[in-house]
Structure formats: C-alpha cells, structure tokens
C-alpha cells in the first residue's frame, strides 16, 4: 500500500506503484487543476510540489506529475493547486492575475505551482530565482513577458521572508492555507507509522529511479511491472569525498548534486552547466544512475562524468565490481551490465586548483532541450604549457556517450598549437560517427563537435592565434 498526504488529506492506495501521480490526482481523486500537456515532462502543465523530509527538514520540490510514479509519493506530501487554494487568491495567484500572466490558462497551474515552490524555498527570493523555478513551464500564449513582470513584482513582497519557520510565515502572509502549520508533524507521524517501502529487491523486479526516462519511453510497461523503487533508497543516496575522490550515490538527483557544497566548490561554473540540463522539476527527479543506464548517446550527465573519467560501482546481490564509465557503454543502448546488476555509486576525481573542467552543450533551444552535441573536458597543463592530462567526452556523435580516448591520447604531452589542435581535430573526427536526426544533420554535428572543442580551448585560455588558425579565419 502506498500512503501519503495529498493536500490536506491522508490517502492510501493499492494502485500500481508505477502508475503516475498525474493520473491518480486527476482521475482517481478528481483534482482537475493539474493538467496533461505532454506526458513527457517537457511542458510543465502537470507540475506539482512534493514535500519530503530531507535531513530532518521538510523540503518542497517541484516535479512533473506525469513522470512521477505513484510509488515515489509514498510517505510524502503531494501538493496540487487544490491544496493551495484559499478563499482569497494567494499573492502568487493574485500577481499572475494582475499582470495578465495567464491567457488560455491551460499551462497556468504549472506556473502557479512552480512559483509557489519558489516562494516556499526559504533561501530563494530573487527574481532570477523565480524565473529559474519556471524553467520547466512552457506557455504558448503569453510570450512570458507578463509572467516575468509578475515574478518581479512577487519578489518585492518576499524580502521579509525568514529562513526559519518559513511555512508559518507563508501561512501568516496568506501564501498558504492554515493546514501547513502542522503539516510537518503530520508527515512525520505518517512516516513513523509506515512500514518502510524499501525492502529486499528480487532480481526480477524492474528498478525505477525518478521515472524521468522510463515513464517517457515505456509507461505501459512500468504501469504493469513489479517495481523496485530506488528513488528514496537511503543506501543509494549521498555525496561524500575522500582523498579528493567524490562518491555519488546512484539515486542522487541532479538537484542534489548541484546543491552539494563540495561539488559547488570543485566546479566554480556548476550553476551554468546545470542550467543547461533539462529543467528544475526534471532535475528534482532525475537520478545520476538513471542518466547513465538510460545509455542515451547524448545524456548530459553521462558526458559530464565521462569528461571526468569517472568510475562506477556495480552491484548484484551484494557482489560489487568497479569499472570505468567509459567501459560501461558498449554500443547503442548496450551496457556492460549483467541482468540484475545495478549501479551503486559513481566515483570521480574532483577538479583541483591545478586542473580545469568545462562542460558545453548546444541544442535547438538552449534550455530544457536535449543536446545536438554536448561535451565535457577535464584538463591540466604542465608548466611549459603542454597538456599534462586530458579527458574529453562528447555526446550526440556516436552510438554511445563517447569518451574521446584517441584524441585525448594524442593531445597528452602536446602544447596546444594550431598544428596540434588541427591534428587532434582530425583524430577526433575519425573517432566519431554522428547520424542525421531531429537534432541535426551529421555534417552539423561534426562541425559542432569541433566548435565545442574550440569552446573548451577558449575557456582554458589557449592562445587565440591558434584558435583563429584552426577556425581558418
């Protein structure tokens, strides 16, 4: 049985744990405020807020309910628009109304929920944070400018928001209904009351993390399958560092990765990279291991970790083995992974003061899109300016997320002169085999790969003359 708080009510259901929260709230609970726009997490019309206890604190995150398996709602607070409606409009609702931030209204609830999530985040109060909270919401009518104006006006009212007892303050200010005052107690009582859903998983069960891929690709299968829900599995969570080796639990979400102080310290431009990866609600759901086992040739985090030459630890019934991530991807959607084996953790060396890291991605739409080509590079230079060590990876150019071993091997020990860069690019082009698809022609992807390599070199302050020559300018 799955039990959770749905708005102000505790619910229990025996429905399949792989059915979606979206269908549950709309068709089983008749909460029709949450809309269906695409069922693949790309429009945000079904955005809800999910409250769960994180390190002893109730934290709300936005998620797309179309991709959220019901099993992942267990022991959480699921919040739809009906759960924030009060007699009067909340300031979030009022401000969108006043600025004409809604036209046809179909996407509006998604925006309301995302903005409410922003308001509920005790640390967030700036306009760009409000905009960022809506990065997963698509609107076809307004052109967003009225929504931006509303967000700006909203943040003016949030300057007094306290860091502690935020929910109580929000209730007092009529952002939230009164039942939020004891929601944390109720949730804790619910958690204490529940048998943990985590159990020994049999090898026949299908493992499901955040749902952001499997519920797009095979929703019918997931709906019917016996599932092992790994999203909240504590043994697969957590980020730790030892001897400069960072270990990520397989179920670490992209958001958790991005919020980690140790990770932030090691990647000064992390925020800019992560901004290019899907959207806030998807990052709140998507797990690291999910991005790897999905085996997409353009998975952003796959490329990110390949660029760091990461390793993974695989586990089957307690038997562990560690392999290089670059050896994990065998062919298109083929993995070096036995049946019943799952990723336990990801290990990689953190960039240090002596090394530089960069992540690049180009897609048709800069944000909330899948890459045409993406690339990551981790590099260090010797005192004479030659490349001491380099790890280079690119997506969208091969059947697998590609670790560019030969290019890296060639460049190692070389000074990045135009001649060497030219030669490296030739090797690189021989290493890849892009195909033409909806994300671009093969010719474009080859050119783009060169450009992203150049972009890395520019970031690493390689002399501009070399680059000009490579670009044949």
């Amino acid at each position: 049985m799955i039990s959770f708080l749905l708005n102000d009510t505790q619910v229990t259901t025996s429905l399949a744990s792989g059915s979606t929260v979206l269908d549950f709230v709309r068709y089983h609970k008749s909460l029709k405020g949450t809309k269906i726009g695409c069922r693949e997490g790309d429009c945000g019309a079904c955005t809800i807020l999910v409250g769960s206890m994180e390190s002893g604190k109730l934290k709300y995150r936005s998620m797309t309910s179309c991709l959220m398996p019901l099993g992942n709602a267990h022991a959480k607070h699921i919040l739809t628009v009906e759960g924030i409606n009060m007699k009067q409009l909340s300031p979030v609702q009022k401000i969108l109304e006043e600025h004409n931030g809604t036209q046809c209204g179909f996407c509006t609830i998604g925006f309301i929920m995302s903005l409410t999530g922003f308001v509920m985040d005790e640390h967030a109060s700036k306009t760009e944070e409000a905009i960022a909270a809506m990065d997963g919401n698509i609107c076809r009518c307004t052109g967003y400018k009225s929504i931006e104006r509303a967000a700006e006006a909203l943040t003016q009212d949030l300057q007094e928001k306290p860091l502690n007892n935020t929910l109580n303050w929000l209730v007092e200010q009529k952002y939230l209904p009164a039942y939020f005052q004891n929601i944390e107690e109720r949730l804790q009582a619910l958690i204490a009351d529940q048998q943990t859903i985590a159990k020994e998983h049999s090898s026949t069960e299908l493992r499901l993390g955040g749902g952001t891929d499997l519920l797009v690709q095979r929703p019918e299968l997931i709906r019917k399958a016996e599932l092992a829900h790994l999203f909240d599995s504590q043994s697969l969570k957590g980020i730790s560092v030892s001897d400069n080796i960072c270990s990520l639990g397989a179920s670490t979400t992209v958001t958790e990765f991005a919020e980690s102080p140790v990770v932030q310290a090691a990647f000064p431009h992390l925020h800019a990279y992560i901004k290019l990866v899907s959207s806030t609600p998807i990052r709140n759901m998507a797990t690291m291991a999910g991005n790897l086992v999905n085996a997409s040739p353009i998975g952003d985090m796959s490329i990110f970790f390949l660029g760091l030459d990461s390793s993974i630890i695989l586990n089957k019934e307690g038997r562990q083995r560690q392999i290089k991530l670059r050896d994990f991807f065998l062919d298109y959607k083929k993995l070096n992974k036995e049946s019943g084996e799952h990723i336990e953790s990801i290990l990689f060396e953190l960039p240090t003061t002596g090394t530089q890291f960069n992540f690049e991605k180009v897609s048709k739409r800069t944000h909330l899109d899948i890459a045409s080509v993406n690339s990551a590079c981790h590099i260090s230079f010797a005192e004479d300016g030659s490349i001491d060590k380099i790890h280079l990876a690119a997506g969208g150019v091969a059947p697998v997320p590609k670790y560019l071993a030969k290019t890296g091997a060639y460049l190692t020990g070389k000074i990045p002169t135009d001649e060497h860069l030219h030669a490296a690019l030739e090797i690189m082009q021989a290493e890849v085999a892009p195909i033409s698809d909806a994300r671009g022609t093969a010719a474009y992807k080859r050119l783009l790969l060169r450009q992203l390599f150049i972009a890395h070199m520019l970031k690493f302050s390689v002399p501009i003359d070399s680059i000009r020559n490579v670009l044949a300018l």
């Binding site: 405020g33 609702q93 036209q103």
Partner: protein, 765 residues
Amino acid sequence: MIIHPNQKPKSSKNSKNVDAKAHVTGTSLYVDDLPVMAGALHIKVFDSPHAHGIIRSLDYSEAERMEGVVRIFSAKDIPGENQIGGIVADEPLLADKEVHFRGQPILLIAAESEEQAEEALSGISIEIDPLPIITDPREAYAKGSVLHTSRVFKLGDPDKAFENCAYVFSGKAQSGGQEHLYLETQGAYAYPAEHNSVKIHSSTQGPTAVQKTTARILGVSMNQVEVDVARLGGGFGGKEDQASPWGAMAALVAWTLKKPAKCILHRMEDMRMTGKRNPYDSDYKIGLDKDYNIVAYEATYYQNGGAAADLSPAILERTLFHANNSYFIPNIRATAHPCKTNLPPNTAFRGFGGPQGMFVIESAIDHAAREIGIDPHIIQRKNLLQNGSEFPYGQIVEDCEAANCWDEVVHKYKLDTIQEEIAVFNAKNEFEKKGLALMPVCFGISFTNTMMNNARSLVHVYGDGSVGVSTGAVEMGQGVNTKMIQIAADQFGISQEQVKIETTNTTRVANTSPSAASSTADLNGKALLDACSQIKDRLEVFVRKHLSLSEKADISFQEGEIKVNKEQTELEWEELVSLALASRINLSAKGHYATPRIHYDKATEKGHPFAYHVYGTAITVSTVDCIRGTYTIDAVHVVHDFGTSMNRLIDLGQCEGGIVQGIGWMTMEEIIYNKEGRLLSNALSTYKIPDIYAVPKELHVDFLNTDGSELAIYKSKAVGEPPLMYGIGAYFAISNAIRAFNPKSQFEYSAPMTPEKVLLALYGK
C-alpha cells in the same frame, strides 16, 4: 500619441482578464476536466503507418476480443457521408481504401478505459501497398498534384516594368511549418441525447464546423447536433477546422452505442495526426529604380498543403493578399499554387498565409539591399504604403499608419544609436556579433471569404439585473470573454461582475463563423452591441413612460443608475429591470452584425475585402555566439497601431504572445518530416517552442493611439494575428549578425534559422 503600457491607463481599458481568477486556481474547465458520466467509453484512433498507399488488408478481429473493447469502428460504420472536407470535399473521417498521409485515422477503438483502448491497438494488423510519397511542394506541382486551382493577383504591368528597372534580383525563399502546440491537445466528449440527437463538448474554434461535420458523418440534420465550448487551452488556428474530426468521432461512438464517449488525443498523436502551418517554397523577382523605389515584384508560391485541401485554399489567398506586406508596389504579379503532398493536411495558423507571403517580400528586399550595398531599411522605409496607394487586389489604402509606426519606432528607440552600438560591439568582439532588422507589418482585417464576416449574439437581462451573454466567440486565451463583458457592462452601465459570459453553444447562437481571422471581437462585439441596444431601446421607452419624460429627454445607463439629461434619477438598474419585467417588457435580444463595405470578386481578383488594416513596425536586435552558433534575441521594440485599444492589458498580451510565437517560427521551431512522410519532430522533446529563457530580453510594445476604425469594436483594432509577423525580424537580425562575422557567407533564405543553419552559415564559404 504614444502610451507606454507601463503607464496606468484610466477606466475599464485595463480591466483584468475575467477568466484569470479561475485559471490561477485551476477551476477553469477544459474538455478533459468535465465530469464524465458513468459508463463513458474512451476512444483511441488507429492511424496509418504509411504516408501513401492502398489498404490491402485490415484485420482487427484480435483487438475486438481484447478486454474492455466495446466496438471498433471503420469507415463502413459511418452512417452518413464519410467526409470532413470543408472547402473541398476531399478528406474522409476514416480512411477506407487508400491512405494519403502518415497519421491518417483508419479505425476507432471504443473501450471501457483509455488503457484498454490503447492496448487494443496492438491487436490490429494492416497491410498497405505503397504508392509514391511526395513531401515537397515543388515536386508535387511538377507532377500535377494539386489541391485546388492556382490563383494570380496582378497590378500594373510587371513584365514591362522589369525592363525599365535599374536593379533586378531574383531568388528563392522557404519558410517552414509550425506546430500549433496549443497546450491542451485536441479532444471532445459526446453523449447521446433525446430524439436521436447528440451533444458534444469540443475544444474547437469553430463550434458550427464541428456541428456541420458531425451531422454529415451521422447523416442527421444540424439541429440534432449540439456543440458546446467552454474554453480552449489554446487554438492558434489549429482548432479552426481540425477540431472537427475528433468531435465527430466522439459523436459517432456516442450516437451509435448510446453511451457517453470521450476522445482526447495524446500529445504525440496530436502532433502526427494534425496539420500545421503550411510550409512554403517560393520564387521571387524584385525590380527597383535607381532611387530604390520598388517598381516591380513577382512571386510564385508553392504552398505545401498536405494530403487534403482543409483550409489551404483560403490560406493561399491570404498569402496573395499580403504578398506586398506594407509596401506599395505599382507592378506586381503574385501566383500561388496549392500543392498536394503526403503530409497531414496543413491548416490555419495565426497569420493564415500572411506571414509566409511577407517572408518572401522581406527576403527579396534583403537580397536587393545586400547586392546594392545599402541597409535594407532604406528600401523598406522608402516604399511604405501611403493613403491612396492601391493594394494588388484593388482596395485603396485608407487611414494608413505604416509610416507613422515606422518613424515613431525609429525615433523613440533611436535607430541610429542602436546601429552605432552594434558597430562598436561587433568591432570589439571577435566571436560574438550583433545584428539588427526592421520589420514593418500591414495586415488586413476580415475573413477574406466575405460571407463569413457576420456574427450573432444572445443577451438575457435577468430579473435581478444580472446579465447573461452568449455570442459565437470562443475563448481560447485571446481575452474575448473579457472584451464581451466589457461591452455589455458598458452598454448597460453596470459592473462587469453583473455580466456573465456563457459557453459558446450552437443552440443559443447558430451558424457561427469560427473564432479566427483576428475578427472575433469585432464581429461578435458588434453583434453584442446590437443585442444590448435593442434591450436598451425597449428600456428607454419604458423609462420615458414611467418617468413621464419628453421625447427629447436624453436617457443614459451609467454606474448602475438611469440618468436623464445626465442627471441622476431615483431609478437604479436593478429596480428598472424589475419594473420593466413587471410591465412585460422583453429583456432578451438576439443581435446580428455583418461587416459593411466589404466585397470581393474572385473572377477579377479585385475588390475591397478588408474592413480595415492594422499597421506597425518592429526593430529586432540579436546576438550570435559565433563559436557555438547559438543566438539570443536581445530586444524587440515595437510601435503598433491598436486604434483606440479597449483593453490594453489584453491587447498587450496578444502582441507579446504573437511576437514570441513569430520568433519561434523563425528560429527554433522546426518541423521535420523524412522522405517517407514520417514526422521526426513528433514530440515536445524534439519540437521546441520558446521557453522563458528564449524570449527577447527586452520586449517593448508601444501603443500608437490612432482613430482606429468605425468597423473595429469600440475603434479598438483587431490584434490577434498581426503581431506574429514582427517575429520575421528575428530571422533577418540573426542573418545580419552572421554576416558581421562572415561577410562572404552565402546562405539561402530558409526559415527557421536554427542553430544548425547559423553555425553552417558562420563557417560557410
């Protein structure tokens, strides 16, 4: 006079969208939100896996035996005529012997649950003998594959004029399709009613179209089909004609099985089964004299209509009406061919062929300017329409605001300064370049099919003074509900809260034109005025008698009171209504409006088809990242002719939304079909529309307050479509930034300007 939207306008002109409260609380009801009756069936459409061929065999016996499947409908289960074509009868509801596009509906599965209906798809097998597939309109035309007759608009003598030109340039221009991406997918919910009739809740811009199509499919008369529309989660033209099949399907199942039935498309079904904005492939030839006057222009448009005519013949016509955009060209020949291909039938999309025509003339001007070596805007400004100019279709330009908008935007946003700043930026930055473009727009308001320019309304004043308003207008986000309420409240001098807008329903308001052509508020608003006036007239007669007033006394309705010669009386609105009812006065009225003056003769291709024109000009600035081939739209500054806007908030919203949609069409929105006619950009993961980060960093819309037009409701000019075409400026701004990086780059006029095209152009020779 320019009024910045940030200035707080007075009066009701800034009143909020009446639907906003329901939208922000999630209480607005779209089709899939309506409470469904017990026993409702769910419909799945089995569609063609091939783009062209003969159905050799079709076996669904296994599917029929699957759990929950109640019945499977094929073409032979259609009791009436298997035909949904509007302009041309060339499209079946369910393919019978042949299939003409991938995604063409063949069977309907009615099952007890949506999941069961979906699973039953796997129990259907089909064999199709393939026929040649055409996806390219030029190829179609060359092979004689057309949907309808070609059309030619002509003014002056272009052949002769070209001979005397100082400059003549010719080339090709292509613009791509565009997915409507209304956030609410197509859908309908139907249930049987008494007397062999059926009621349909449809997400349609054209309730009458759904009614008519359904009656034809069922073989019943129109009065047996009731269509009700509460609101749409977006339409943009995609639900003008193409909402009808899903309504008819739900009705077919409900009417046949005598059970409620629901047909809501999944996003990917919607994307592959429905048509989009027509892609165009065109040839142009432009001739200028030595002073850069455009003396002659010739254009041939190959319209990709898809597999059936749908609205393409009408869209084609509007392309011709806007062949010259905002410019006076004395000698012109514009030819348009509606080409039949094996793609889903393309259809209406905001602008309705106008944007496609404008892209070609703007490409021609850009081409000429580059070859001559001057800024395109020198040619653009020089040739703007003026009062007394003749459009190629014979209408004479009146109340022209083309130059006023242009000069105002150039002056206010200091075009010279912007150009200087761009030059400085480009000199300083090696791998980032900026580009600029101006885009004037002139758009004709009216359905180009004259007979469609009429509307009706029904107004009830209830005994407590509250008012119910029905019109033929469908609310789809454009704010027409708000405008209608403003009108009724204003006419009766009562508060907007006292007026309720009812659903759009074919039994209350019949024979409606679809909510389209930017004309919905004008036509329905004027019809509403008529109904309100009738009731007011009756009330005035009553007041005169009741207060023993002379014929000369001026009676008005303001702020809930009845005023005589502008003086307050004791009579309040509610009391008047109650007294009038007691005196058996009819407080309901049906209003009607038909646009005067307009006419058009298709034989001569001359006439006066438009009630009036809307003008405006946009300046667009873009920055291109010359390493990555990506770009941002830095700013769009617009001066737009709203006439006397009756609601600035709503009109500004239409303008901003239209501009961003136009930019999307010109930049990232790329419809890709492969040679087999399969849609590759078939989901939101592969078809990208602007997100909150993709929109112009600055977007200024300034209201050029003009006298408006008597034919516009409250002189507030139509605003739905015209702003979309400002988006064309984004294409040329990006192009100019590319040329700043690589002056030698030769690239075709081919929209959308995707990051791929940008990068290939940056490094092209």
